[in-house]
Amino acid sequence: MDLLRFATAGSVDDGKSTLIGRLLLDSKAIFEDQLEAVEATSEAKGYDYTDLALLTDGLRSEREQGITIDVAYRYFATPNRKFIIADTPGHVQYTRNMVTGASTADLGLVLVDARQGLTEQSRRHAVILSLLRVPHLVLAVNKMDLVDYDQAVYDAIYAEFTSFATKLNIPDLEVIPISALQGDNVVERSTNMGWYSGPTLMHHLEHVHVASDRDLVDARFPVQYVIRPKSDDFHDYRGYAGRIAGGVLKPGDEVVVLPSGMTSTIEAIDVFNTEIAEAFPPMSVTLRLADDVDVSRGDMIARVNNAPTPSQDIDAMICWMTNEPLRPRQKLAIKHTTRTGRALVKDVQYRLDVNTLHRDQESKELGLNEIGRVQLRTTVPLLCDPYSKNRTTGSFILIDEATGVTVGAGMING
């Protein structure tokens, strides 16, 4: 059994909660007491149906307002796969929450209402998933029951979306006609849409191939922590602990430590008390090197002939997450892999309209939930790759030094 993380976006109107409720119910991830609590609340509110949105709206304020504000994580499993859903709100004022949910997703699920076709909101969701380089996208054309399961409706949405998608980076797209309410093509194949020969949603989620999304060529190992037991049994043990961010590392590999540029050879790779033959993303391992070189947290171990170039000038797309706007000359803390430093905003090149992809070059600041292209100068060199090549070594967060709050998410261009 492996793991698939997917992000969903949308509002109650799109039937997102109904769809998630159905996936959870059909995979038996909802328990009787949870369902009973939701049924009781629905009844108390005077609804004549069970509002499955109540299952995911976990916070008191969300239930009071009847809206999803924050990212909720939900879990279910089939015999083939375990799934983690990052369920995010769809409205434009919650773009930062959707960016958060998409940052760890292997697959993005966008819902459209078959009666309405593509809306500004569905386009925006696709743009954000593409910016965050979520490698697989599913467009679920929902409420097919309300358009008499008409193939022409599906075909029109399919054509419109694929034409729009050519402007985005979507390596893998699947457009699935469903009815979340009736269950068509969610888990069971629909008997109402003989014209559709593709997979059901659940079949696609269970079988989409995600292992090849990881970069197995460019070895990247950000050093997290140095393990030195200094015990009698392990007197000379010195291990560099971290999580493989890219590539495959093996004992005997020649490596370079950045930023110092010192070289050595991997003597062994430990996972707990076992030496392993190779390490690949996203494994947490401990490397031992043959030579006594100086390595500490924030350094990166890479291959001698394939290492990132240290840089203090960073060109990135930034999603801004706080009320006070991002402006040139602003100073912030930056965290990139295991490295922390400070960053100065040199320039806001443009603000991206996530609905139209228009680049507004007049705007020299980014407000809450806005995304734009920004130039930064950092106090320490970052050992980075383009985000399009590696989502771990290509991403960073910005922190307000006064409040300590995470205020921005960055994806490095290149």
Partner: protein, 304 residues
Amino acid sequence: MTATHADYRLSQLDELEAESIHIFREVAAEFEKPVLMFSGGKDSIVMMRLAEKAFYPAKIPFPVLQVDTGYDFPEVLATRDNWVNRLGVRLIVAGVEQAIKDGIVVDDGKTSRNRLQIGTLLNAIEDNGFTAAFGGGRRDEEKARAKERVYSHRDEFGQWDPKNQRPELWSLYNGRLHEGEHMRIFPISNWTELDIWDYIGREGIEIPSIYFSHTRRVFERDGMLLTESEHNPCRDGEVAAERTVRFRTVGDLTLTGCVESTASTIPEIIDEVAVARVTERGATRGDDRFSEAAMEDRKKEGYF
């Protein structure tokens, strides 16, 4: 973990383990004074195992804190001691009884021990100057938890503000704190109850015997089977009888119910959990049944 992977894929347990170990190392590197909150229950035992693996062959570089309600199961305390001794970590016990004596919390006879743990815990964190406290909370447990971050900020009163949480992206955790604040860390956020059992089975690690089927004198109260004990005598109309039971969670024994079960091995427990139709907290935790937002309210105040 096997030595080679022909297709470079990790199983879901290996991926969850790698994520949790990354979190443990991140906290050890970035926080001055972390502590692991250890109840002796299965989730905190899995945390101990992950911490053991994260720093091996070095010892776990932080102490372990247990909040003793005074009503803990003796089997759980025995398992706690075995773990602490085997790993050679320092154990700090913060007792609710002592906190009552010291006037830190007030036992009015109506408030549950579970709730009195909040003040006891916050006091222990403050007294010791801990800046990060690992907890075994999982997001599948309860819907307020479903929205909690891995790094969950607490203000100088130990309170959680669910509406004002820091965004948490990729695996880049923000550990910034002001004086007097601390961070709750949830390294097993993404594990489900079934993952926990699969992992305990795979690792072959010790858990308290009360998780396995045994005979016990119990009585029924509010639809739960509770242990008869000096702290928890039968009330009028309640009759204790010997039954074959096991516990799905461990906590204050006056509030933690058991279920009738003959599951005496990990695979049998997994079979039982896989077909269970009621959540572990809904079934057996009196503390979560008071209202739909019981957990959210306790968490805001500083609960685990």
